[in-house]
């Protein structure tokens, strides 16, 4: 029997904006904390008067993912005083496509019936059985949406075409588990960009470092600071003044990457990085290669580097982990930038002797 998939859904909620201009949290199941409610009200675009409508946004907060679909109500007979509403889904895993499809179905159900009870039925159906009937004579099967597909959905080629050789800075930062901050005034662009970045370190397949939609709010920044390395997406330009929040700052609007002062020493780049950069650019520019192939090429190179690093490790005393033998590394007499990089990489990969 195949491994039954554990449902990762945590909850569903409904936020409405009415004719008085208030955005209210009107319904949720099973329950949400006040903190989450505030956060999600901030994230859904109904609280600001002149903000544009963002159809679908997602992000992470303290290890739980939220997915918000917003819909404008067009003079429906069922929902009288409501001008817009958002359906919020919280889950433990990263899968924007799956939850986007699911929230769209829930939106349509709510638009048609005007009552959350019907939504609840579909939600429980998906929660218990993994399947629910959609309004358009189809069905939503949660097993159609694979996690791996979500990881590979972004386009690495776009990133390389925007930044060229500077992509290697992003690669280095991700390898060394540094803090990356991405800024663009439009959230859709930020989300698209940040979701693809962890693919550069495919050997880890860790999307929990991704926080694609963060506001400059004390609670969220507190939560962000508890992670060692992260990719955080902002739409507020003031984030570039917050030097305490990042090691690398990416300004998508101006296509600029800046490394902050405190990380410059760790991020010094040398011949090895030039090699890697050239490989990335070449691979991405090849029109025959698909995105997943580019990612594969990059991961091959990463594996090479890691094997090289592993050659300097020795088995530790209790026989479980491999720890770095610094003298061995030094004896190889690499150029200082490469040595520095390998040393920091060992720290990131938990290979240092403590």
């Amino acid at each position: 029997m195949a491994e039954p998939e554990i449902q990762q859904l945590l909850g569903v909620g409904l936020i409405e904006k009415d004719t008085n201009g208030d955005a209210l949290w009107v319904w949720c199941y099973p329950s949400t904390t006040a903190e989450m409610r505030d956060l999600l009200l901030r994230k859904c675009c109904l609280t600001d008067e002149n903000k544009l409508l963002h159809t679908f946004v997602f992000g992470q907060y303290r290890r739980s993912w939220f997915y918000i679909t917003t819909v404008e109500v067009q003079d429906s007979s069922v929902l009288k005083k409501v001008t817009h509403f958002s359906i919020v889904l919280t889950a433990k895993d990263f899968n924007p496509e799956k939850y986007a499809a699911f929230t769209r179905i829930l939106c349509r159900i709510y638009l048609k019936h005007g009552s959350p009870v019907k939504m609840m039925e579909s939600y429980i159906a998906v929660f218990t059985k993994g399947i629910c009937q959609s309004e358009e004579n189809g069905s939503f099967l949660s097993k159609d949406f694979d996690a791996r597909k979500a990881y590979l959905a972004g386009s690495i080629k776009d990133i390389v075409s925007q930044f060229g050789m500077e992509t290697v800075i992003l690669f280095t930062a991700l390898m060394l588990k540094k803090r990356i901050v991405v800024y663009h005034p439009r959230i859709e662009v930020v989300q698209e960009f940040t979701r693809t970045l962890p693919a550069l370190v495919w050997h880890r397949q860790d999307w929990s470092i991704l926080h694609s939609y963060v506001h400059l709010n004390d609670d969220e920044l507190e939560a962000l600071k508890t992670c060692t390395g992260y990719i955080a997406g902002f739409i507020d330009s003031k984030v570039s003044n917050r030097l305490d929040l990042y090691d690398v700052c990416v300004n998508l609007a101006d296509s600029e990457i800046t490394i902050s002062q405190q990380a410059k020493e760790a991020m010094t780049m040398g011949k090895l990085h030039k090699e890697i950069g050239q490989l990335i650019v070449q691979s991405a520019e090849d029109p025959d290669k698909s995105d997943s192939q580019v990612i594969k090429d990059i991961s091959l190179k990463t594996k090479e580097i890691l094997t090289n690093l592993a050659s300097f490790t020795e088995v530790s005393d209790d026989g479980e982990k491999r720890t770095l033998n610094f003298e061995a590394l030094k004896q190889k007499r690499y150029p200082p930038a490469t040595e520095n990089f390998l040393y920091h990489l060992a720290a990131a990969e938990q290979m240092l002797k403590i």
């Binding site: 507190e222 040393y343 938990q350």
Partner: protein, 626 residues
């Protein structure tokens, strides 16, 4: 006419003419008096015109003649339209004189118009006096110190100037603890005694007053514009403003604070500030490192300094020969250099160690976090698996039961959700309805707030207006009391109004009479026309029959005679009326001529003419004899 004369005489007295007390009307004005009054008026109206003329009439006839013509010219230059010549002054008639004097008195400049333009009040008067004095002092030219008179020295020297040192004053307040109130009551010295030097009393008072006034103005302006609009009570509004200010300050500080820097020597002040803003967190290990390196560097510096001091001492105290001294210095220098290198190497090593430790620390922290998460996940799976294990023996049954259980709880949840919906729906609607009501209430209250502000404004402006008017009223009353009582304006205004009323009534009567006359004339015209037409018809009619009948011929003759006589009658009446009108006109003319006292003037003219001829002859004779 009496009143007019009285007013004229009064105005002439004001302009400087010495009109004797018994002269009550223009009738009694002599030629000298006339000339004097005209000249004085001219002097007041137009000083340049009047100064060349003397107000005393000279005895000589030609001189009199000359003065007369020049006066007439001056009056014409001023703009007098009617005919004026030397005869107006020397051989005067009352109506002409009255007209001329009225014209001149009209032209007299009005003093009260200027007064009204200046603001009233004692303080305004004081300000005006201050302004005049300052203007005068600014007008005096600067004179070097050596050449100054005592008065100029007082004005332009600096000895009388005092420096503006303000001293903070303590004013008693009613609120506060009991001890403070006791202090204010019994022990606080009065305000003029508080500053240490008497010269600082005035500046301190000014400073305090300006500060209080400025604060009061600012608060009022702020409260009027933003405070009322924010709808908070004053204390809360002040608090809100404080918080907003603090937030802004924090933002600014954050932008200006330098980032964490472990490379160069960190300044203690900047580091503390950055720590304050970043609230610990990820900056922890780095800060420790910087503190460590900082301590190291400080120790190193202190060592170096100590060594330098020792070197200096040895240099100073040694009295041996120069060569020995040099050798010793070089030795010490080499030793110090070696020391420096050793220390630097030590520092590098320690720095490297610090980095290694930092990395290990971050690695350890990351490892810890990962382990914790893994632990949480494993605990959950453990729970699930243990439950599954319990249910495993009766696998099929339990599976079916679990399915049923899941379905039934799903249904129950849906049912509960439906029940909740029935409760929730109306509540949300009610909430929305109340919000809409509140919104409309808010609109209403904004409107009222703006009305209140407008009322405030109006109240304030009305208060200032009332104050100003009161001042003006008081000042005018005092002026009124000080004015001479010989001319009662009220009586005059009353009389003028009466006269105006009378004139209006007369005008009405005249219009009535005119309309009656017109109607009468029309009637006459129509009757005459009718008469003519009737006569023509009758004439024709009778004439036709007159050829045949004798009696009709007689009747015709009588008719013609009647017509003739009646027309003569009418003519006579008209003539009589015309003659009566002529009589009235001639009577009027006689009256006006009579007032001109032409005979007396003629006699005077003749005598003057004779005197002039004599003077001319005398002058001729004098000019002929050298």
């Amino acid at each position: 006419m009496d009143e007019v004369d009285k007013i004229l005489i009064h105005s002439l007295r004001l302009s400087g003419t010495q009109v004797p007390e018994e002269v009550q009307s223009l009738q009694e004005f002599t030629t000298e008096l006339i000339v004097e009054s005209v000249v004085r008026c001219l002097r007041v109206i137009h000083p340049s015109l009047g100064t060349s003329l003397s107000h005393v009439l000279p005895p000589g006839m030609s001189a009199r003649f000359r003065i007369g013509t020049s006066l007439a010219q001056a009056c014409q230059e001023l703009g007098y339209q009617a005919e004026v010549g030397y005869q107006t002054f020397l051989y005067s008639s009352v109506p002409e004189i009255r007209r001329l004097l009225l014209f001149l008195v009209e032209k007299l400049p009005r003093d009260d118009a200027e007064d009204a333009r200046q603001p009233a009040g004692k303080s305004a008067g004081l300000l005006r006096a201050i302004a005049a004095k300052i203007k005068e002092e600014l007008g005096t030219p600067w004179v070097p110190p050596a050449c100054r008179t005592p008065r100029l020295q007082r004005l332009q020297g600096t000895c009388l100037l005092k420096p503006f040192h303000a001293h903070p004053l303590v004013l008693p307040r009613d609120s506060g603890p009991v001890e403070r109130r006791e202090f204010f009551g019994g022990f606080l010295p009065p305000v003029p005694a508080q500053p240490p030097r008497p010269g600082t009393v005035a500046p301190s008072l000014l400073e305090r007053h300006v500060g209080d006034l400025g604060a009061q103005h600012d608060w009022e302006a702020d409260w009027q514009s933003q405070g009322l609009a924010s709808r908070l009570p004053p204390k809360e509004y002040v608090q809100w403003k404080h918080q907003r200010l603090r937030r802004r300050l924090l933002d600014q500080l954050r932008q200006a604070a330098p980032p964490h820097d472990t490379a160069g020597p960190p300044q203690p002040g900047a580091r503390d500030l950055a720590e304050l803003l970043s609230a610990g967190g990820a900056g922890g290990p780095l800060a420790k490192g910087s503190r460590f390196s900082h301590a190291q560097r400080l120790a190193h510096d202190q060592e170096l300094v100590g060594q330098m001091q020792a070197v200096v001492e040895t240099l100073v105290s040694s009295k041996t020969s120069e060569q020995e001294v040099q050798a010793r210095q070089e030795e010490e220098l080499a030793g110090l250099r070696g020391e420096l290198q050793r220390l630097e190497a030590e520092m590098d090593a320690v720095g490297g160690e610090v980095k290694v430790l930092e990395l290990s620390l971050s690695q350890a922290e990351a490892g810890l976090r990962q382990q914790r998460l893994a632990l949480g996940g494993r605990e959950q799976t453990l729970q699930v698996k243990s439950r599954a294990l319990e249910l495993l023996p009766q696998a099929e049954n339990n599976l079916a039961k679990l399915q049923l259980l899941v379905e039934s709880s799903a249904q129950r949840l849906v049912h509960l959700a439906a029940q909740w919906e029935t409760r929730r729906g109306p509540l949300v609607d009610q909430y929305r309805h109340l919000r809409a009501a509140r919104h409309s209430c808010q609109l209403e209250s904004t409107r009222r707030v703006s009305e209140i502000q407008a009322l405030h404004e109006r109240g304030r402006s009305a208060a200032t207006e009332a104050r100003r008017k009161e001042e003006l009223c008081r000042q005018l009353l005092t002026e009124l009391e000080s004015l001479p009582k010989d001319v009662s304006r009220a009586a005059y205004t009353q009389r003028i109004l009466e006269i105006v009323g009378n004139i209006r009534k007369q005008k009405e009567e005249i219009t009535k009479i005119l309309s009656a006359t017109r109607a009468l004339q029309k009637e006459i015209n129509s009757l005459t026309g009718k008469l003519d037409r009737t006569f023509a018809v009758t004439d024709e009619l009778v004439f036709k029959d007159a050829k045949r009948d004798e009696s009709v011929r007689k009747a015709y003759k009588y008719l013609a005679a009647l017509h003739e006589n009646c027309s003569q009658l009418i003519q006579t009446i008209e003539d009589a009326g015309a003659i009566q009108r002529e009589i009235r006109d001639l009577e009027e003319q006689i009256e006006s001529e009579g007032a001109k006292k032409t005979l007396a003037n003629l006699e005077r003219i003749l005598s003057d003419y004779r005197a002039l001829r004599q003077e001319n002859a005398a002058l001729l004779g004098r000019s002929r004899d050298p």
